[in-house]
Symmetry: C2
């Protein structure tokens, strides 16, 4: 076998099943190898940000890496933004980038770039393979890094892809985690027993059902509140799951929430900081007086740590669904009349099907979707973790490929949607069950809000040009149709309800432009 | 004034007139400043690659920098591919990137990235401003770098944008060029007088009319041929201008062309290398036996060097338009019948208006457009210099903003078009005279060709999935309409001629999908 075949065979043996790709000439041996050993299905993205965002969505859903295959430096560059979001989501993504043949690189051909400088900006692990036989071990090291919730980037020169090498005899490494420190966890337990007003700040795998189960046990034992960061990568929510409050976006509001607590225990979540540095506000949301405890490192298993802590606190091992668990209570009524952002969120909440996956990149419009107590069937919820616009449509694409039997709903701002709109085509090609709800307020509304915050209350023509999405308005239905997706425009809650009903009934992707004030 | 105002005021004083922007919260002081001092008009791109590609197109047309304004690391990352193309085109681009406030950066907020690592991959000059008062000098240094044909990237922390500082009193620096070495040029002249079979390889500013005039004088004096690289950034062509041959794309063909010559004199062009490293072919197209001479460095004025060389060769100072100059000879007839790539190219050549600007990102489909002797009125011709797909639509947008009175024609592959399709909206908003011709062969045809070259003659399902753009076909007319542009689909040469006639007559942008086999 050659290096490309070794790469694919090793990835398959390590459990990789999908590859989101936009390949070029330097990756063709890998493309050819994808058909030589069965086990990986390739999905074409018409732009690299589609591929990386889809891999992030897939990784968040299944907690296992998809492979991404990109073309040289420019291909990686186009995928960086969504790799940045994946990094902030602690999502497992295996990125493979072709490189010019080693003997050709010094000639500085037109496409040559410093690929490693790009890779290091988003990757917890990155390497350029040094020979064909080493590619097997490189792939396994990369996959081990992804299991710690990292983006891993492997750069593979074209001549090494083509070079003959021995067959794969690399063993999958052991689990990626460092062992837990039971003494430290017991010490935390005894500190917590003497503390009042504790917030348990959950992140990463702690927001999946096993972590949440353990968190509820801790909550019962010490009466803490459950919080998470403003933009969690993935959380499970709804009936049978506890209420976990997200910290508000603006630092003043976030400080108001966190100031209720004397102690904050971090379990898989970073210490909260302001999204931007606003004059007059601190970077960190907690004050110096508030006590911080960290349950475990990023290299330890946070779910095991939460369970150990619950045990150390003497919490009961099984809990019935209680008062603070959302038990599929009665749905709210569907609103009517001219659509607003609030009515759009309430309509969705009222109609959301069982076992849905919600990807929220709705910026200002969708904030209310999360805010009211969600008396909803259990669902998965994902957000824009790294603030790099253009996650939603690709992430929904990857989530639907990961979980083809679940309805995927992408609540998407019109500004953000445009960054990686090409992902709609992959949804059409694969017939994915994704409903894209475009929150069409025809502006970068958050920037208009921030301009006022910054004292610019009467924007001039340039500031208007850079924050309005009018002249012309984007016709989202036409764009969806251009990509092969049924697209409609609605401006009342009744019409939205009707179109949602259609979308949730008919298989395949749908796009609904919700015209909002 | 504050740092943001100093930045804009300095840029205006240095001659910057346009800003292609996709700003965020960290750039809002700069956005506000764009309305405080008149002189720069801002253009919104709905994706950062639109902004950087438009700046490249503007810079190639006017040989002066546009400003680009981008949001933090992810914004720069999204713009990198087209900055890479600009770098390879030696196009002047001033990139300004906002950064978190210096006091906020260490908190590692969600959008934080290593912006300088991104910037260095494409920039001849880059810097993070160290204080508000220094921003003026930073901008001028950056602009000086652009005048050498470089991308210059200035990163400006938010707190320095807001900080008060003195007014701008920085003087524009002298011209960017090192002085010419007249002894070296005379030595080249005497070597050339004794040489047979000389190729003059032109690049950069040498492909504009003053450089071409000097090249023709040299040609008359020593009988050399005029060549340029496969993908020149900008060249003037057609009636009254000399024939300059482009080197073919594949190394075997390029070697066949270059092997005619004993001596190759480089004037603003790099030594030609294969686009990719193909097994069995060398990286460099010239053999070791061929003599190479370099007329001047990248930091010297190539036009002056060509003129000095013509003088040193005793060439006549004025030349009538001669046999080898394209004197607006009779146009070819318009073909008819079912469209092919060749017929599409011939139809365009037959109908191309006076003084057109052609942006060619057509990959395999449009290669024939350049190939036959172009008996055309004078026009400007631009190509995909760096191989990073997605240049065409943004570049056409910037070219039309630079030269609103010239018809801009973008010959665009369907695969490439999709990378930065959002630029169509900016064309609609600004009412630009751009005709986009989508070469819709519904495949990554070049990759299909390369797969066969690489020995994969019966691609499996994964290789097919990654090279075909069918299932579903993209409906380009709908997509154009979604962005506010009249869009049509044609499949015969007659219909193409009719639609071209409409597009060249009606003001504003048009898109024509040419369905090709």
């Amino acid at each position: 076998m050659n290096g490309a075949e070794l790469l694919i065979k090793t990835a398959i043996e390590a459990g990789v099943e999908v590859c989101f790709a936009n390949a070029g000439t330097t990756e063709l041996p890998i493309v050819t190898s994808l058909d030589k050993t069965s086990g990986i299905k390739a999905f074409l993205g018409l732009f690299e940000g589609v591929c990386t965002g889809a891999a992030d969505g897939y990784g968040r859903m299944l907690d296992k890496p998809a492979m991404v295959l990109l073309h040289l430096g420019p291909g990686l560059a186009n995928g960086i933004s969504n790799l940045h979001n994946a990094r902030r989501a602690k999502s497992p993504v295996l990125t493979v980038v072709g490189e010019h043949a080693t003997w050709h690189r010094d000639a500085d051909p037109p496409l040559a770039m410093d690929i490693e400088s790009l890779a290091r900006t988003v990757s917890g692990w990155w390497r350029t393979s040094k020979s064909a036989p080493e590619i097997g071990a490189d792939v396994l090291e990369a996959i081990t890094a992804t299991r710690l919730g990292q983006v891993a980037t492997l750069i593979v020169p074209h001549d090494y892809q083509l070079a003959e090498c021995g067959s794969s005899n690399v063993k999958t490494s052991d689990g990626p985690f460092d062992s837990l420190d039971s003494h430290a966890i017991k010490a935390i337990a005894s500190r917590l027993r003497g503390s009042r007003k504790v917030a348990l700040m959950l992140g990463g795998r702690a927001l999946r059902r096993p972590g949440l189960d353990a968190a509820v046990r801790i909550q019962k034992a010490i009466g803490c509140d459950l919080l998470t960061q403003t933009f969690p990568g993935y959380m499970e929510r709804g009936a049978g799951l506890p209420i976990v409050e997200r910290l508000p976006y603006f630092p003043g509001q976030a400080t108001a929430v966190i100031s209720r607590y004397q102690v904050v225990l971090f379990a898989g979540a970073p210490e909260p900081v302001a999204f931007f540095g606003y004059p007059g506000f601190r970077s960190r949301i907690l004050t110096d007086e508030q006590e911080r405890m960290t349950l475990c490192t990023d290299r330890q298993n946070v779910v095991g740590a939460l369970e150990n802590l619950a045990d150390a606190l003497g919490a009961p091992s099984h809990l019935p669904i209680g008062d603070n668990l959302l038990a599929g209570q009665e749905r709210q009524a569907i609103p009517d009349g001219k659509l607003t952002a609030e009515k759009a969120c309430l309509t969705l909440a009222a109609m959301q099907p069982e076992n849905a996956v919600i990807i929220d990149e709705s910026a200002t419009s969708g904030y209310l979707y999360f805010a009211p107590p969600p008396w909803l069937p259990a669902y998965s919820f994902m957000t824009l973790t790294g603030g790099a616009l253009g996650l939603g449509i690709p992430c929904a694409t990857g989530a639907a490929i990961a979980c083809p039997d679940r309805p995927v709903i992408n609540l998407e701002a019109d500004g953000s949607a445009m960054y990686t709109v090409q992902a709609l085509w992959t949804q059409a090609r694969e017939g994915l069950n994704v409903t894209t709800l475009i929150c069409s307020n025809r502006s970068y509304r958050i920037l208009q809000v921030e301009l006022v915050h910054a004292g610019n209350t009467s924007p001039g023509p340039n500031a208007q040009a850079l924050t309005e999405l009018t002249k012309p308005p984007i016709n989202w239905a036409r764009i969806a149709q251009g990509f092969g997706i049924p697209g409609v425009t609605v401006s009342t809650a009744e019409d939205l309800a009707q179109e949602l009903s259609n979308a949730f009934t008919e298989p395949g992707p749908h796009l609904i432009e919700m015209v909002l004030p």
